[in-house]
């Protein structure tokens, strides 16, 4: 079941006008920000389907950038996010794409700075709920209905064990887990959905663990 909580239905508390095109967009942007781990210096945002047709009217552009600035759906600063981004020297570009996608509300976001770049695809499935379906070429099914940890790790033995051992030591139950890689022996992505929000100290511990190169978290 895609929706698990009553608060997916009665909620989120948000700045209007659209739960899918504004609140959902903010959440996709914020997921990108969290996965990147810091404020990016540039953002290229590609809109597909209904997003491409109506993003101006719904403030989808404003909301995605608000998310990239780490604003939640009910943060009134969303309204002036484009100005804020511009003042902070973030180079922002939007593109309307004609290609058909599986879901009508799809956005592809490429963000980065001098050191790093990430690319992800998010879909807004209704009522403010989102899913991240692609990260740096890794396909994933990050439902967004659960808190989750994303770990980029070396594709070698022991990487998964080092992560799960840490979670076990903190009595954190894993609800769902998937591992994907582009090629053997290179980098891999571990997505772990858990039942409760992950605290900073757990994340820090994971970051120091063997074979894990990068950590990110999605909170509920």
């Amino acid at each position: 079941m895609k929706y698990r909580s009553v608060f997916d239905i009665i909620g989120p508390v948000m700045i209007g006008p659209s739960s899918s095109h504004t609140a959902g967009a903010a959440r996709i942007g914020r997921a990108a920000r969290h996965l990147f781990g810091r404020e990016p210096k540039y953002a290229h945002v590609y809109f597909y389907g209904s997003f491409a047709e109506t993003y101006k009217g719904h403030g989808t552009d404003v909301a995605i950038i608000g998310g990239l600035l780490d604003y939640d759906t009910d943060d009134t600063r969303i309204r002036s996010s484009l100005e804020t981004a511009s003042n902070r020297g973030i180079d922002v570009n939007f593109y309307e794409e004609a290609a058909q996608t599986d879901h009508p509300n799809t956005a592809r976001i490429v963000i980065g700075d001098d050191d790093r770049e990430i690319e992800l695809v998010g879909i807004s499935i209704g009522g403010g709920k989102v899913e991240i379906t692609e990260l740096d070429g890794f396909e994933l099914r990050l439902s967004g209905s659960h808190p989750a940890i994303l770990l980029i790790h070396n594709d070698r033995y022991g990487a998964i064990a080092s992560a799960t051992t840490i979670l076990a030591s903190h009595e954190i139950n894993i609800g769902r887990m998937e591992v994907s890689r582009k090629a053997q022996g290179e980098q891999a992505l571990m997505v772990i959905e858990v039942d409760q929000n992950i605290e900073d100290y757990v994340l820090n511990e994971l970051e120091r663990a063997d074979h894990i190169t990068q950590v990110a978290r999605i909170s509920d």
């Binding site: 009553v6 239905i9 009665i10 209007g16 739960s19 009217g57 009522g127």
Partner: protein, 293 residues
């Protein structure tokens, strides 16, 4: 976890508990949190809804200028006239409109189940409240009951206008409101499901055709009609009227109709009212204004 309306009603009737209680208990179990945590979060949502209605009744205007001020017009009319459709109905309409006017003005609202359909549930709640004089607890429960039915629609059909048209948004919202009114008025769980079915049946086929892609025209007035549809259906269900087609089959039908709906009618602003001569003229005005500012 209940998967459909039949299971939800059965859980409530077997346990001799209201639907709101089924929803609260499920939420506690799924999230592994206390009753107090679940309850407090919903109370906060109720506060946001109350504030949005208040703000809307003071009068707001959207950036585009397409919507705003109608909630005030209706309230003023109600003070000076005896509304033909009755005081409670027009009160619900004005409060639904108020919420969506605040939403269109990028104000703070609570999505129920979406922002574009955020008026139906609070609009009916704050109108029915004046007649039924519920406790604060009953008002919070109203939201859990609405949420329970929205949960079923979201998981078995859709609550996205881009995926299923307006029937998936305002249709779902109105059905959720109808079910919650029934519980607040002392109806049974199965009567709540009947009210949901009766409401949604009358919203099947409704397309999503926002002028200029804005959640304003016709969204605000669709919430007005969604709210009135909900109040009427709740009264019918409380009278003992049942839907010949069961609630779950109505929800499934809404889903199938949505799947066959052309993309022009699913939140692309390419068809329906958005494609009328006036719709196009308004769109040109709106984006002309945006570029100038």
């Amino acid at each position: 976890m209940f998967k459909n309306a039949a299971e939800l009603v059965e859980l409530a009737e077997k346990g001799n508990i209201p639907i709101s209680e089924v929803m609260i208990r499920q939420e506690m179990e799924v999230k592994q949190v206390t009753r107090e945590q679940v309850y407090t979060q919903m109370e906060r949502n109720l506060d946001v809804m109350e504030k949005a209605v208040e703000d809307g009744l003071k009068g707001v205007k959207s950036h585009s200028g397409l919507t705003g001020g109608d909630a005030v017009l209706i309230q003023t009319y109600m003070k000076n006239h005896k509304p033909l459709s009755g005081h409670l109905l027009m009160d619900a309409v004005s409060k639904a409109v108020a919420t969506n006017e605040v939403n269109a003005a990028m104000g703070t609202i609570c999505a129920t189940p979406t922002a574009g359909s955020a008026g139906c549930v609070p609009g009916t709640l704050f109108a029915v409240k004046n007649q039924l004089n519920p406790t604060r607890d009953q008002m919070v429960r109203y939201l859990f009951t609405s949420g329970a039915f929205g949960f079923i629609v979201a998981n078995n059909a859709s609550i996205s206008g881009a995926a299923g048209g307006c029937q998936a948004e305002v249709g779902s919202a109105a059905g959720m409101a109808a079910a919650a009114i029934v519980e607040m008025a002392g109806g049974s769980p199965s009567q709540s499901a009947e009210a949901m079915a009766i409401t949604l049946k009358n919203m099947i086929g409704l397309i999503c055709d926002p002028v200029a892609g804005l959640v304003e025209v016709p969204c605000v007035k669709r919430n007005a009609m969604g709210a009135s549809n909900a109040v009427v259906a709740a009264d019918m269900a409380l009278a003992g009227v049942t839907s010949r087609i069961p609630c779950d089959e109505v929800i499934d039908t809404m889903y199938k109709v949505g799947q066959r709906m052309p993309t022009d009618f699913r939140e692309t602003a390419k068809g329906g009212l958005a494609a009328t001569a006036t719709g196009k003229k308004l769109e040109a005005q709106v984006y002309g204004n945006v570029q100038k500012s």
